[in-house]
């Protein structure tokens, strides 16, 4: 297998192919009759997934270096190149994306009824944008894709969304846009500062990372600009208000993509850019207090708000705020276990929450409402759906044996050392999660079957099983045997932690006088 892949030069073209296939597919979707659009889109996303799968094996374990790297000139006069490459962290994100997309297409199969061609074309363009963000190793390219991705999402929410879609779409757009524009200024500032210091003006990730010392006392401002952009995307506590609106109004597939992949871009940004570029700023005691504090507030607040939501989709949306809080806590605890745990949560949140959104979509397709109170006793009517919903909810709670447990457990152990108090409070989030999800489960699938509308609901169709089965498989696989995932990210996390700590040590004058760090 590896030999065959080597013969066809897989490593040289795979990342380009992943970026190009959806774009070509989008054009194809636009040129076929509306009835065929979803089939073409499914085909394209499946091809995309199959192309990406061998990455899992050809990826070399045990090295933190960027793999599959290559570059072509784009605007060489300004040091802008099309540069791509992945490490363990991006590998998981890329595979999560390519796995989610065919499911998103399949999940939209009957749900989307009008303007089919543009809908599927936008999904495909979005795929390129998201993958581009995860593989870009040029800050200009990263920024462009980070922004371009907004447009398809804006249209998906605004055109095919629920009743308050206009408000949700523009709120989503403006929040993200606000954060990212300041990041653009920061990117340009780094470009010129590093360029002036080294004489080489380039947006290359490696070049900027190596010479980041040139920014000197501007570090805090630049870190702030990056952190704001990423914190909005995560979303961290005070910047989270776009999320429930966007999630609730978006069509099912867009919610799945938002929760599954888009939110991960924020935490990915912290791991790839904000932390390695500005270690001493990020680990400054004040910043640490703020970030860890907000992460913990997010965990508890998200869980508490989720508990009182009458709307199932909104409940899941707020649970995302809570889960992403764990990721931020894990990243900032900066131990091997906690960072690895954070990355595992990024993956497993994509899978579990994606599945929950699919299930919420399936429920509302059947009953045309998402109110939890409208259901009850579904276990008798739709046993298949009830079983899946239970398993997925348990995985989201973090039951041992499911994917949710692995990540949260690692984050909690890893963070205990550096921040015992914060970790203790964060752990209550797990309990709250059990409370809101189990309570919701009780009201939806148990209780009495007291509403006549619920008596004749159809159980899962073959297509719906097809959507959920891969997610269930991942839930159990990651829950029972997460080692392959951990192997692939180990070198990258270790590298991240050591570089951050080394740089911090080299910048901080002496331990004990950390307040004097500029």
């Amino acid at each position: 297998m590896t030999e065959f892949l080597g013969n066809i030069g897989y490593n040289n073209w795979v990342l380009d192919a992943l970026l190009v296939i959806p774009l070509v597919g989008a054009l194809a979707v636009l040129s076929v009759p509306a009835g065929e659009a979803k089939k073409v889109a499914l085909g394209v996303t499946l091809v995309e997934f199959l192309v990406s799968v061998p990455l899992w094996w050809t990826f070399q374990i045990g090295t933190a270096a960027m793999q599959f790297q290559h570059a072509y000139p784009w605007i060489p006069g300004w040091g802008i190149y099309y540069r791509v490459g992945i490490d363990g962290i991006s590998l998981l994100m890329v595979l999560l994306t390519t796995l989610t997309m065919p499911l998103a297409v399949l999940g939209s199969w009957n749900y989307i009824k009008d303007k089919l061609c543009p809908y599927y074309a936008l999904l495909l363009v979005l795929t390129t944008g998201m993958l581009g963000v995860f593989v870009a190793l040029d800050l200009f390219m990263f920024y462009v894709l980070w922004e371009v991705m907004l447009i398809p999402m804006y249209f998906l929410i605004g055109v095919w969304g629920g009743p308050r879609r206009l408000y949700a779409a523009i709120k989503f757009f403006i929040y993200t846009f606000v954060g990212s524009l300041l990041m653009l200024v920061a990117i340009l500032a780094i470009y010129y500062m590093v360029g002036d210091a080294t004489g080489v003006y380039s947006f290359a990730y490696d070049h900027l990372l190596e010479n980041i010392g040139a920014v000197g006392s501007w570090g805090f401002w630049l870190f702030g600009a990056f952190a704001l952009a990423f914190a909005i995307k995560v979303p961290m506590f005070p910047f989270h208000t776009w999320l429930p609106d966007a999630h609730v109004e978006a069509p099912t597939a867009a919610s799945v993509i938002l929760a599954g992949i888009l939110l991960k871009m924020g935490t990915y940004g912290f791991l790839r850019f904000a932390l390695p570029f500005f270690p001493s700023e990020a680990m400054h005691p004040t910043v640490v207090t703020i970030v860890v504090g907000l992460a913990v507030i997010g965990i508890v607040y998200g869980a508490l708000v989720a508990m009182v939501q009458p709307d199932f989709k909104k409940l899941v949306a707020y649970s995302s705020v809570s889960h992403l809080g764990f990721v931020m806590l894990g990243i900032w605890a900066l131990t091997q276990a906690s960072v690895a745990g954070a990355i595992i949560i990024m993956v497993s949140h994509g899978i579990s929450t994606g599945a929950l959104f699919f299930l919420a979509g399936m429920l509302s397709e059947r009953r045309h409402t998402r109110e939890i109170a409208a259901f009850g006793g579904l276990a008798k009517v739709v046993p298949g759906l009830a079983v899946v919903l239970t398993v997925v909810a348990l995985s989201s709670i973090g039951l041992p044996g499911t994917n949710g447990f692995v990540g949260e457990f690692l984050v909690l152990i890893g963070s205990w050392g550096p921040y015992p108090w914060a970790t203790a409070v964060a752990a209550t989030g797990v309990i709250f999660a059990a409370a809101y999800l189990l309570w919701a489960l009780q009201r939806i699938i148990y209780n009495k079957l007291d509403k006549p509308e619920n008596e004749h609901l159809p159980d899962l169709s073959k297509r719906e099983i097809l959507v959920l089965a891969p997610l269930l498989a991942c839930i159990l696989w990651i829950g029972l045997y997460p080692k392959p995932l951990l192997d692939r990210i180990e070198a990258s996390t270790e590298h991240l932690i050591t570089t951050v700590q080394e740089q911090r040590a080299s910048v901080a004058p002496t331990p004990g006088s950390e307040e004097q760090v500029p």
Partner: protein, 503 residues
């Protein structure tokens, strides 16, 4: 090495002014033609096509001179022969060509039968070319007046519309006022340095150490007020909304794009070339002008419900971004300006073309909400308008982004990070009024069955929109060639800051 032109010989002088002369000849031909035939719509079409031919051939002449790399043998001529002149002239001519194409169908639809319209468009273009080529304040002033006179008349060309007349009178009064300031500024600069020639003025300032001379500073101040009116910088912008609103839409587009670009061109040449030694003084002023122009323009645009007024105020905001490029006081800023006005000309003309197409019952009354459902009825028009709006917003993938990015990078490289932050904050505000246009077109349903049935791009306007949209996307993804041209155009604009003559 390029083609050396000795402007002291008659042949060299003709060669140096070749684009202006070619366009003037065409203008005279057109004048004779319309004097002879001006009875019906057919005659007017002929006039438009003649104007188009004249503008295109002049564009070819400009490009020829640029490719040949024509440069002057003596440094202190009245006519500039450099990349900056060729680049800006080409952009004005592209703007004028698109305006003529837009007018071909528009005048017929609005039943405006004035074939002299095209003569005036060409006359204004000649004025712009002189503003680009003037290396002497007198030449620049003549160009400015020539352009302004033509535009005053064009603003009021629709004789039956009271708003058009109001626009013309307002523009004329304030324009005359601005010209007065401008002329007074020239007089003061002459008083301080004893010359109106830009290059000589620079050396006089450097040699005599006049950088902070009071009379010079007063002259700079007067000049900036005059230019401030022409480029519509806040607080000299009060005329903009009413004039832009009342003038016929293609003329509004002409004013918003080419006229403004011409005024900026002259401003940049004067500031960088003649007054570069006093940059500490004017950079500060331009910086503040830029900040308030961006903020005020964008904030007021946010409150507009009518498309035409919204575009008018947004053009004030864009003037602020261009001023920010200028506030960096560098050739990099001038290169950013060149790319920006090219993109800006395309997106402005494109969006006004769409406005003209949907405004069959009067463009003044088109509310943003009236675009509801346009995407389902006129998908291509809606798509093009989306490109224009995103480009105006400065969204990646469009030329507007590359332009804004160049401006930002000029600002950041001059260490004016605060200005850069204010610029992006202003851009964020602009999302609040560009996006609703997209939202109305795609996400709201048409108010009635027959909505948009009358709207449509007429004839050549289709080409204007198509060309603009495709070029904006192309330049947004692959700007390399044009970036090089812009850098080339800005090179050498700022004379060496050293005191060459004294050392």
């Amino acid at each position: 090495m390029g083609m050396a032109i000795d402007v002291t010989t008659p042949g060299g002088f003709v060669l140096a002014l070749l684009p202006e002369l070619v366009l003037t000849c065409w203008m005279l031909v057109l004048l004779v033609a319309v004097a002879w035939r001006h009875r019906d719509e057919g005659d007017q079409q002929m006039a438009g096509q003649l104007a188009l031919m004249g503008l295109v051939s002049t564009l070819l002449v400009v490009l020829w001179m640029w490719v040949k790399g024509a440069y002057p043998e003596t440094l202190t001529g009245m006519i500039a022969l450099d990349g900056f002149r060729y680049a800006t002239s080409a952009i004005f001519l592209i703007g004028a060509i698109l305006v003529v194409m837009l007018s071909l169908g528009y005048l017929g639809r609005e039943r405006i039968l004035v074939p002299e319209y095209y003569v005036l468009v060409m006359l204004a273009a000649i004025g712009m070319l002189f503003m680009a080529s003037g290396a002497d304040l007198i030449v620049i002033f003549l160009g400015l007046e020539l352009m302004s006179m033509a535009i005053y008349v064009l603003a009021g060309i629709d004789r039956r519309s009271a708003f058009s007349a109001e626009a013309a009178v307002k523009y004329f009064l304030l324009g005359a006022f601005a010209s007065g300031f401008f002329l007074y500024g020239i007089a003061l600069l002459y008083g301080a340095t004893g010359t109106t020639n830009l290059t000589q003025m620079h050396y006089q300032i450097v040699t005599l150490g006049l950088e902070t001379n009071l009379m010079l500073l007063a002259g700079i101040g007067m000049l900036l007020i005059g230019f401030g009116f022409k480029v519509a910088a806040v607080p000299f912008h009060m005329w903009v909304p009413d004039v832009y609103d009342g003038a016929p839409t293609p003329i509004t587009a002409y004013m918003a794009a080419a006229v403004k670009a011409a005024a900026f061109t002259a401003l940049i040449r004067v500031l960088l070339h003649a007054l570069g030694a006093s940059d500490a003084v004017w950079m500060e002023i331009i910086l503040w002008l830029s900040v308030i122009t961006m903020i005020v323009g964008n904030l007021i645009a946010l409150a507009q419900t009518h498309l035409k007024r919204m575009l008018a105020y947004s053009s004030i905001g864009h003037a602020g971004y261009i001023l920010a490029a200028l506030a960096s006081g560098s050739e990099r800023g001038a290169a950013a300006f060149l790319f920006y006005i090219l993109a800006y000309t395309l997106m402005t003309l494109g969006s006004f073309a769409i406005l003209a197409a949907v405004g069959t019952r009067g463009e003044r009354d088109v509310r943003i909400d009236d675009l509801s459902g346009l995407a389902s009825r006129r998908p291509w028009m809606a798509l093009a308008m989306t490109v224009f709006m995103l480009s105006l917003l400065g969204f990646p993938g469009t030329a507007g982004f590359i332009g804004k990015w160049l401006v930002l990078s000029a600002v950041v490289s001059a260490d004016q990070i605060v200005l850069a932050v204010l610029l992006v904050i202003a851009s964020m505000v602009s999302a609040g009024y560009y996006l609703p246009v997209v939202m109305a077109m795609y996400m709201k349903s048409a108010p009635s069955e027959d909505a948009h049935s009358g709207s449509g791009l007429i004839g050549a306007a289709r080409w204007v929109v198509g060309i603009a949209a495709v070029l904006l996307l192309l330049l947004g993804v692959w700007p390399n060639r044009v970036l090089d041209m812009a850098a080339d155009g800005a090179e050498g604009l700022r004379p060496a800051p050293t005191r060459i003559l004294t050392d």
